[in-house]
């Protein structure tokens, strides 16, 4: 007996692949989604009796395609639609058949992340079409009302259709920029899950899992892109600390204070293997360097075993590639570990990051370590005012309180996130 929840699970897992193939066949994202929905309805009606087909993925695509033909026949009013039905059944699709599922998945990824779409639309489309998330789930993850998210998706799909955003993989000189956009979308999904910018929970595991899944898919589809590997490694290494990163009641635990026994050694091993493969390729990029930094952290059984000099060198490379104040801030945190809090503070104070809560949190910690408690408390308060994440705010509050009650707090840089807001 096949349960309906199992059918739902299978469709969710196969959604991206099915839609990717069907967009190619049907020439329309909406038609592809409708067809998969029709196939789902049919599966719910049949699978409980017949059991799972030998290849559920193949069954979904074939059934969806047949239902699309039915639908077009039913709706065929003009010559164009009739021609489309003929196209579906005629010789033409043979050219389409030789494309692999992977070709079409890549096409779908690059279409969802096309630079003519804004970042929010790219993220929503990627989660919907490749991740198989429902509109309600995406709306919930990004804390917007469901109708707003539905509107965003309709608008994005409308633009793809009306402006004729092509369904193809960019080549040659175009590819690097376009790939950057794809990786940025995946990392944004991960970050939204890993350090939710607002709301009660610090981590939204479903978004992290989805981002890692997308990261794996891209590495699988584009094995020769070192930055894709770098991004996957980075996400795996950050994700390996998930269990240690929050207290049972949802509070934030800094890298230096984490119970390293809770780190997921499987994820660390996988992430570090990818980092080693990247090092061999020797085409460093921002994601690879951030992954390498996290791989060094993962090597240290205790905080005091951390090879800060190596991390500082990696941050130097990262800053050369990405000379942003946020990278400079993270480098300053590391500098404080190598050369002391005074050197770190000097490097922090020249940065123009007054609106960024971590800037104030880092200053606060360095001031505290220098014994300048009053200034530290003021900086903790400034940081608190600039984050909407409850766990982060509670953490900063607790830190500020240890100073006003004279109990010494643990010495730690308040950042284990070597990435920006």
């Amino acid at each position: 007996m096949v349960h309906i929840s199992e059918i739902g699970q299978i469709f969710r897992e196969e959604y991206g692949r099915s839609v990717a193939v069907l967009v190619r066949v049907l020439g329309s994202i909406d038609a592809a989604e409708d067809a998969v929905q029709d196939a789902f309805t049919e599966a719910v009606a049949r699978w409980p009796d017949t059991g799972l087909p030998p290849s559920p993925a193949g069954w979904i695509i074939t059934t969806a395609r047949n239902r699309a033909i039915d639908r077009l026949r039913r709706e065929a009013s003009g010559r164009e639609k009739l021609a489309q039905v003929t196209l579906l059944q005629g010789d033409e699709p043979e050219a389409i058949e030789v494309d692999t599922v992977e070709d079409n998945q890549l096409r779908l990824i690059f279409t969802c992340c096309h630079p003519a779409l804004n970042r929010g639309a790219q993220v929503a489309l990627t989660l919907k079409l490749l991740g198989g998330l429902t509109t309600a789930e995406i709306a919930h993850a990004f804390l917007v009302p469901e109708p707003t998210m539905a509107q965003r998706l309709v608008r994005a799909k409308g633009k793809i259709r009306d402006a004729h955003i092509p369904y193809r993989v960019p080549t040659g000189a175009e590819l690097p920029e376009r790939l950057k956009s794809v990786l940025a979308v995946v990392y944004l999904v991960f970050n939204e899950g890993y350090a939710a910018s607002s709301g009660a929970g610090l981590v939204r595991e479903d978004l992290c899992r989805e981002a890692v899944r997308l990261g794996r898919l891209i590495v699988e589809l584009m094995p020769d892109e070192p930055e894709a590997k770098g991004l996957l490694a980075l996400m795996l290494l950050l994700d390996s600390r998930r269990a240690a990163r929050t207290t049972p009641d949802g509070g934030l635990v800094l890298l230096a204070d984490q119970d390293r026994g809770l780190w997921d050694t499987m994820l660390i091993a996988e992430g570090q293997l990818l980092v080693r493969q990247c090092l061999k390729r020797n085409q460093p990029g921002p994601y690879q360097l951030q992954a390498a930094i996290n791989a060094v952290h993962s090597d240290a059984a205790r905080p005091e075993d951390t090879d800060w000099r190596q991390i500082l060198a990696l941050y130097g490379q990262l800053l050369a590639l990405e000379p942003t104040p946020v990278v400079a801030l993270n480098r300053a945190v590391v500098l404080a570990e190598v050369e002391g809090p005074a050197a770190g503070l000097a490097a922090v104070d020249v940065l123009e990051l007054g609106n960024y809560y971590l800037f104030h949190a880092v200053r606060a910690d360095l001031l505290r370590r220098l014994g300048r408690d009053d200034e530290a408390v003021a900086a903790y308060r400034a940081a608190q005012e600039r984050t909407d994440n409850d766990a982060e705010r509670d953490f900063l509050e607790a830190r500020a309180r240890t100073l006003t009650t004279t109990a010494p707090g643990p010495a730690a840089p308040p950042s284990d996130d070597p990435h920006g807001p």
Binding site: H114, A116, H164, P170
Partner: protein, 116 residues
């Protein structure tokens, strides 16, 4: 093929110095020739400044005429192309060339109901 409108967004105010303008005009000639050669050219034209615009409205059969452009802005459409392209990527590439030649932002927008 699809049709796209490429609008040039031009800041209000004086036109550039002759030596700058001459370079732009020469670059535009090259671009228009390229559009013709590629079979992408449908129409192009430059416009007088937005101060020469007039907006006409009809309310309950009554005609209201106002002096100046419809939208209050610091930039207005200063010229346009209509081009044919197989997809948005091709149209955006023409947009890039147009932006380079004019040194101004180009808005690329698809025409509705045109596809063959």
């Amino acid at each position: 093929m699809s049709r796209y409108l490429l609008s040039i967004y031009q800041p209000d105010g004086p036109i550039p110095e002759p030596e700058i303008l001459n370079k732009i005009m020469a670059d535009l000639d090259v671009l228009n020739q390229e559009l013709h050669d590629a079979g992408a050219w449908v129409f192009t034209g430059g416009l007088h400044p937005a101060t020469t615009s007039t907006v006409v409205r009809v309310n309950d059969g009554e005609v209201l005429t106002t002096d100046g452009p419809f939208a209050e802005a610091k930039e207005h459409v200063g010229g346009l192309w209509v081009i044919e392209a197989s997809d948005l990527d091709v149209a955006l590439e023409w947009g890039r060339k147009a932006a380079q030649a004019t040194t101004l932002p180009i808005e690329v927008r698809p025409f509705a109901g045109y596809r063959d």
